[in-house]
């Protein structure tokens, strides 16, 4: 068992789970989607991205790409949220929330691919 691998897998899986817990719930119900969860998902996703830097294998490149996609989607979701609440000023309406959640849904897919790759790599190495 190597600490590096544990940390690596931990952050990748955590990125997926946080993303999932934010995504889970009714699309347009603000009570089901917590801002803290989105924030945590972004931070963990960023850390996961940095951890994937510098791997020159083909798999490493795909890993990095999935993470970058997840970052992009989550940051977009946060931007939409921020602009809505700070610039427009009104309370979060249903449409905006739906946009935010569906953006995070895209990130979820990317994170899922990332975890799938991780699992595939592990199985391949074990065999």
């Amino acid at each position: 068992m190597r600490t590096e691998k544990v940390v690596f897998a931990f952050f990748i899986v955590l990125a997926l789970t946080l993303n999932f817990s934010f995504f889970l719930g009714d699309f347009s119900n603000p009570a089901h989607h917590d801002a803290y969860e989105l924030f945590a998902a972004i931070v963990v996703s960023l850390i996961a991205t940095v951890l994937k830097f510098g791997d020159r294998t083909h798999l490493g490149s795909v890993f990095l790409a999935t993470s970058l996609v997840a970052d992009l989607q989550l940051i977009c979701a946060a931007l939409v949220w921020g602009i809505n609440s700070q610039v427009v000023g009104a309370a979060l309406d249903e449409n905006s929330l739906a946009t935010i959640v569906s953006l995070s849904g895209g990130a979820l897919l990317a994170n899922f691919v990332s975890v799938a790759l991780l699992v595939a790599e592990t199985i391949y190495l074990r065999r």
Partner: protein
Amino acid sequence: MPNLIYLLLRRLRVPLIMLILVYAVSITGYILIPGEDDNRDPYQMTFFDAFYFVSFMGTTIGFGEIPYEFTQSQRYWTLVCLYATVISWLYSIGSMLSIFQDPAFRQQTKLNRFKRSVGNIRQPFYLVCGYGETGRKLVGDLANDGILSVVIDSGEIPINELEVNDLPISPLWLKADASDAQVLEIAGINHRCCQGIISLANDDRVNLTIAIVGQLINNNVRLITRADTKEAASNILSFGANEVINPFETFASRLALALHSPGLHLVTEWTTGPRDKKVDEFALPVKGKWIICGFGDFGRAAYRYLDEVGESLCVICSHRQERDVPAGTIIGRPTEAATLKKAGIDDAVGIIAGTGNDPDNLSVLMTAYELNPNLFRIAHQNEDKHKPIFDAANLDLVMQRGNLISDKIFALLRTPLLGDFLRIVGRFKKDRANELASRMIGVMGDDYPELWEISITNEEAPAIVERLNSSIIRLNDVLRHPDDRERRVDAMVMFLKRGEGNVILPEGTRKIKIGDRFLLCGNKIAKHKLQITARNTSYLEYVLTGRRLPDSWVWRKLMENKRFSDRFS
């Protein structure tokens, strides 16, 4: 080759993660800590507020307490975050700077830049491995002739020197080991503009490796290699090098030529010698005894060649252990008068100082001059920086290794046929060589000879090619002056290569065929005039038949009219 950005990001992993964590913790803190607005009502910072505040605090810009004045508890938290973010920023920037300073990273940056500029080359270039004395002179000559070179050298000093060069065409350079196949590939050995590899390392093993690697990667380019020993030379030749140049052999063979066949010596000097001055025949002593001091690579080569032409020789060698010295060798220090006397300096005609030490060589020759002022004195100059003293010593002949090789390589690069020509001419008898030398004097006059090649192809001689389709052309006809066909241009055809066949000094009645390659000798004006004839249909017509073709379309149309042409031509 790792991509630079990924290399950078990989090394920055720890500082980046630290930054992300510090930011996340600070932002969370501000959101959780309760604050107050202007009316002392409770106010919770939003994510936007917190991120905004941490961003300008972390970068020490500090716009103040935004959006409302902070409470005491928020200030405590600010104190903590302030130090944490500033330190993590300093740490990240510090790591980034240290990566930029890292020798490995800088080498990688240089390599990438070099790779890019080699890839962008759109003109013919030569790959020069080794930037010592020879390399410097050769690259300079090439640059002055408008030819680009790519230089590889593993030394720090030569590369630094290249960085401040003032050549008309600045060469590309890389500090790397040229015997590495990957390095050669980066330097453009497979580039479609690469004309040839010139390997000039001091170490024969390195030259051999470059030759092998070069031939294996791309055996279509010309390969010219230097070799200091005979074994290495034949070994490199067996790997398919086009030319191998051994400086000692070259010099010794020329010396032997000068003694044995002055005509041939002049021909070689003129064709492969320096391009800035004309070498004149020097007054060599009559047959007699020669003293060779030092029995290293240079001494051995001199001994072998002089022995071949039947001079009587005496070798002075300072080490008793030296291998296979000839019989009658004097063991002792050649700088001492006693040793020189023992070697019979009084009745010798010439002395060759060929030790590996320049002051020693000079000292030998000065002592020898005192003992016998009529001696013909030849010195081996090892290092370029000693040139002024050798010049001041007023010796009869000085062998400069660097110049010798670079002049010869330059000549071979300009006119590749020269190699074959010299190999054949080298077997000439005395009389024939003298005749060749006098013919060359006839065309070159007092200037140094200009050598050039003409291929009968559409690019180099379009007019001749066009005409060859309908009629035959003989060599003599082309060598007429394009302004006055009764005169001849000052040029002679030295060599003809037709397919695999070689013709030395082709006779004037020989027919020209498409695809022929000619080596010509003459002066600069003659070269220019011949180019005019070869490229311009109307000049060629005049040279061949004496008729002047009208240049303009109108005149040509008028001349087609019988009455008009009878009256005016």
